[in-house]
């Protein structure tokens, strides 16, 4: 898979529980098996993410575009996928915002809607009817241009690209890495109340924590495979 930007060779398939795309470094670790050891309010909050409400904030067109964007920017290229946009939608619908707004930006809710439009405009330049209709290569290229603040024209005349990317990514990352499937993938022990952690030292783990089955230094690997500039690398 080298050069194609896939997962590193040898990344294990998940054997226990679920991870996004069913791979990860801790194939026998399912944090959800620990949920009986969590306090009740925490358990309720975490388990609710497994089944988020259906969309209330975004309309169908926006949802199609933004789902495709969330999956591209998080490399969720196959099932099972964390329902990132649904989690974001719930937050925006309920008005759970972060308490600040750059002076050159609209409200975060408006930013999300404008980003959906901006992505569709960018897709038109790739001869696609919308971002969701664009082929994976084009989606990746648009994402890359967004991340590198290279989108221009249309919506982006009014909306500063870098700030817009920061706003949407803050919510995207919070949604994805608050999901227990993502914790399985990275070997995060998750909530530990009231039980606590005891084995804090180098190389130590609690008996119930996952054994790491695969190690690679991502800095070198990402550089070698050009993952930070996927389309440029391939082009």
């Amino acid at each position: 898979m080298h050069g194609g930007g896939g997962d590193p060779d040898g990344l294990p398939r998940q054997r226990r529980g679920t991870t996004p795309q069913m791979h990860g470094r801790y194939p026998d670790f399912d944090v959800l098996e620990q949920s009986e050891h969590w306090d009740e309010p925490t358990r309720r909050a975490v388990l609710a993410r497994l089944d988020p409400p259906s969309l209330r904030f975004f309309d169908a067109t926006q949802a199609r575009t933004l789902t495709a964007f969330c999956d591209t920017v998080l490399a969720q290229d196959r099932q099972p996928r964390v329902p990132v946009l649904q989690l974001v939608d719930a937050k925006l619908h309920e008005g759970r915002l972060d308490g600040f707004q750059y002076d050159d930006m609209p409200d975060d809710r408006e930013t999300w809607r404008l980003v959906a439009r901006g992505l569709d405009e960018a897709a038109a330049e790739h001869d696609a009817a919308s971002y969701g209709d664009a082929d994976p290569e084009s989606r990746l290229a648009i994402c890359e241009a967004f991340a590198e603040a290279r989108l221009s024209g249309g919506v982006w005349v009014e909306l500063p690209v870098a700030h817009a990317f920061a706003v949407v990514m803050r919510a995207v990352l919070a949604a994805f890495y608050s999901h227990p499937w993502a914790w399985n993938e990275i070997g995060f022990g998750g909530p530990a109340h009231p039980r606590g952690y005891m084995r804090l030292g180098i190389g130590q783990k609690e008996p119930w924590e996952g054994e790491e089955a695969f190690v690679i230094d991502p800095v070198a690997d990402v550089r070698e495979r050009g993952l930070d500039h996927p389309t440029e690398h391939r082009g």
């Binding site: 969590w38 920017v73 972060d98 308490g99 230094d217 991502p218």
Partner: protein, 539 residues
């Protein structure tokens, strides 16, 4: 004879985390002229209320947020901690805008310390006279020796745990150092290899028997609110004793305007509760709402701004973080994020090419925080996922760079209004050359430490922490907002007592010093050392 002056730790319940005594809390009517009305039940407001209640003052604290019950309201989860932050909108601008959100003030009884990390270093004696010593910043109208007895007292109340502290005014701590995790061990090894001294602590986290406060369980969610009651916040350290001594903490009550007699005296505060505007009468008012909300309330009340000083000189610390990648698993999510720290670079050293300095501390972000680092380093898509899968191999160090106070770094009122009809705050921030040089040097130092520890790679991000200033204390009315007794210049009975009063910030985390300033002010008010004492104070 040792006087017991704060019973909070004994008043807590061993089986429940919520503050006992809320059902018995004394209440006042809006028409009652209480001796003191405090806006904000955070670091400054709570300590002041607890102290003065013990001197018989009749006190109401208005708190915009809820009266938290850690058992039911808080979760052991990063994203689920959202309600404990101040989430009402603010505008950020300037050349180097400061992102607020979870890295900002709290909202609810206990204030920001509910989600503070727990570091509680003292300021250095030099912090109070940086203008004289180093030609930058400002001199405070008070000095370290006046605060020293209060530092010792508050450190016992929190209680602070750590190794003997060799920097600033050297001192020990009431509780011993906590055990540290693998990530901190690696960082410390690197520091030793570079000849940099570090120490465990100082953290406001119980490490031994302390009344009914349990021991820390090393679960690592300090920034999400401690569900154990091991980490200090006013909710557990001062509110129980305050309630026991007749303070009313009126939660879910947003102060919108300070009322006056049209001359130099305030008469009470207008606030909104349950959608209704009400007015609480008081013989004296203290604003303790944090560096953004305190200036906002004064500006909205058009008070104290005769010299155009309200909201100016707001400071943040440069808080860059450098993470190092190691072959072993370190699982930095375990244990409180604050573990070991160093103040070796705190004071000015001419050879570094800038004035003042920085501190070095372990930080240990949880997955969402770590994902933000990875993104800030330029990774998304497959690269992001791959870095994230490697989470357990990283150790993260942060610096706190003392950025200098600048008049143009200011909180002002924006054009938009909030749901209470009050103009929202706008915060403009720009760095100066000294600030940039400090941050760059601090980042290079963190990188050197991690590389000396054997890090295979490092990842660096820029961020800020800890807003203070905005209503600064000054020797003359032209230079600031309050005098050395925290009284707003030109007003007889209006005070400010929170982080906004600081003229400089050092490179220490501010919460302990905020509490210490409140403790000193309370002592002076109680002993009638403050001139023109509020008239209706009971003894």
């Amino acid at each position: 004879m040792k006087v017991v002056d704060n019973n909070s730790r004994f008043l807590l319940d061993v089986d429940r985390r919520g503050v006992p005594g809320r059902d018995r809390m004394r209440t006042y009517r809006d028409e009652d002229e209480v001796d003191l009305l405090i806006v904000g039940c955070g670091a400054g407001g709570s300590v002041l209320a607890q102290r003065l209640a013990r001197h018989g003052w009749r006190i109401v604290v208005l708190e915009a947020g809820p009266f938290w019950d850690p058992d039911t309201d808080w979760v052991s989860d990063e994203e689920g901690a959202h309600p404990i932050y101040w989430n009402a909108n603010r505008i950020v601008g300037g050349e180097d805008p400061v992102e607020l959100g979870k890295n900002n003030c709290g909202h609810g009884v206990g204030g920001s310390m509910v989600h503070f990390a727990g570091y509680t270093p003292r300021f250095h004696p030099s912090d109070f006279e940086t203008l004289t010593r180093d030609g930058v910043g400002a001199d405070w109208p008070i000095a370290y020796p006046e605060l020293k007895p209060h530092y010792e007292r508050v450190e016992r109340e929190l209680p602070v745990a750590g190794q003997h502290w060799p920097w600033g005014d050297p001192h020990g701590y009431p509780h011993g150092p906590h055990p540290i995790g693998g990530a901190a061990e690696r960082a410390w090894e690197g520091a030793r290899a570079c000849g940099i001294e570090m120490r465990v602590g100082p953290v406001a986290i119980t490490n031994g028997t302390f009344g009914n406060r349990p021991h820390c369980i090393y679960r690592g969610f300090c920034l999400q609110g401690c569900k154990v009651n091991a980490k200090a916040s006013p909710l557990v350290t001062h509110v129980p004793d305050a309630l026991e001594h007749g303070v009313e903490i009126r939660a879910d009550s947003m102060a919108i305007r300070i009322e006056t007699d049209g001359m130099d005296a305030c008469t009470g505060v207008s606030y909104v509760r349950d959608g209704h505007e009400r007015r609480q009468r008081a013989s004296a008012v203290v604003v303790a709402g944090y560096s953004i909300e305190s200036p906002r309330l004064l500006l909205n009340s058009d008070l104290g701004n005769g010299a155009d000083q309200v909201g100016r000189y707001v400071m943040v610390q440069g808080a860059p973080q450098v993470a190092g990648r190691f072959p072993e698993t370190l699982r930095m999510y375990k244990g409180p994020p604050p573990e070991v720290s160093s103040e070796q670079f705190y004071e000015t050293d001419q050879t570094r090419g800038f004035a003042r300095g920085f501190s070095v501390q372990t930080v240990s972000p949880l997955p969402i925080g770590w994902a933000e680092h990875v993104l800030a380093d330029g990774h998304w898509g497959k690269a992001l996922r791959e870095y994230m899968r490697d989470y357990n191999h990283w150790s993260t160090l942060g610096a706190l760079s003392e950025l200098l106070p600048r008049a143009e770094n200011r909180v002002s009122l924006a054009d938009q209004c909030d749901s209470f009809g009050m103009p929202i705050a706008r915060f403009d921030y720009s760095q100066c050359d000294n600030d940039r040089a400090n941050i760059a040097y601090a980042k290079a130092t963190l990188t050197r430490i991690l590389e000396a520890a054997g890090a295979q790679d490092v990842l660096t991000i820029d961020r800020y922490a800890h807003l203070v200033g905005g209503c600064r204390m000054s020797a003359t009315a032209e230079q600031g907002v309050i005098d050395s007794d925290h009284r707003v210049w030109g007003m007889s009975n209006l005070f400010v007592c929170d982080g906004s009063v600081m003229p400089t910030q050092g490179s220490a985390n501010p919460a302990l010093t905020i509490m210490v300033l409140a403790s000193r002010l309370a002592e002076r008010l109680a002993a009638k050392q403050v001139e023109a004492q509020p008239s209706a104070v009971a003894l």
